[in-house]
Amino acid sequence: MLNALIWLLGFQLIGELISRSLSLPLPGSVIGMLLLFLTFSVRKTIPDHLKQTAPRLLSHFSLLFIPAGVGIVLWRKMLQPYALSLFLIIVVSTLATWVVSAVVLHVLQNRHNAARGQS
């Protein structure tokens, strides 16, 4: 647990420093994730402590969004006049994004597999 926390916080810290010093549009935690992935790829293995801790931390990932989500109360007054149209736009647009992404990826993967099967 201790080693895993040091690794995860260390990679996030490096990510934050890179993000800020290059003013990248990616948050430090995402850069940290990509760097940690690269580290695993170079070492060709995942350290045991992370293999054990990561799934436990991720099993309650939903919990971690509650504090930011509660922040929506701050914008209640600003959102109220457009509540219905905002809600409909968000539903339709999120649905369209999901369906287009999933169908495109499904088709591309199947085509790739079919091409591989023929060769």
Partner: protein
Amino acid sequence: MNPAFDWAVHSPLTGLFLTLLAYRLALALNRRCHGHPLTNTVLIGMVLVIAALSASGMSYEQYMQGARFIHLLLGPATVALAVPLYNNFLRLRKSAVALLSTLVIGGLVGILTGGLLGMAVGLPRPVLLSLLPRSVTTPIAMGIAEQVGGIPSLAAAGVILTGIVGAVMLKWLKQRFPHFDDVTLGFATGIAAHGIGTARALQYSETAGAFSGLAMGLNGLVTAVLVPLVCSLLHL
């Protein structure tokens, strides 16, 4: 006011305890309802905390004194997504081109549909601009909104609503498209509904969560490039 109650409102213990308790109750409700989409744990957890805050008169700032310890863990947990991602290394390498093409197309659909629908119903310009980067994580969305002339805090609200809508729809979408694999489900969820969608995808499988987390991260980059382009395209 009762001094003990006053202490509780100002103590970081309260916000921390309230968040954990709300999440625990949300989990129990979700299990009781056999994972019904409307019992999404982020949604119910939020609703319970908001109800407790308005009943007690505690402000968001007072709540965050304790809740920020949980919020802080979001960073290292996102970094930890590298573990399931590496476990899918072979799948990732095999589908790299398909994944990147999907990312650009999906990212563009997210921005364009939001922008066009917002124009169609006549949303005021700052509100519309704040909606464009809805599909990415909050800090990125706030930065993009500010850059194009939107309102950062409104952008953050749009992001959270989008994540919840995406997470709630996932079960239904999974039933509609039963032949899509976990990579496809996860990746589409990450593009459409960022971190809250990723949390939902993780409840299905580690693979779905890993690809959702990857899509969430990369879509931040794609959206940062595409939003200003779409703005000039639509003459916003």
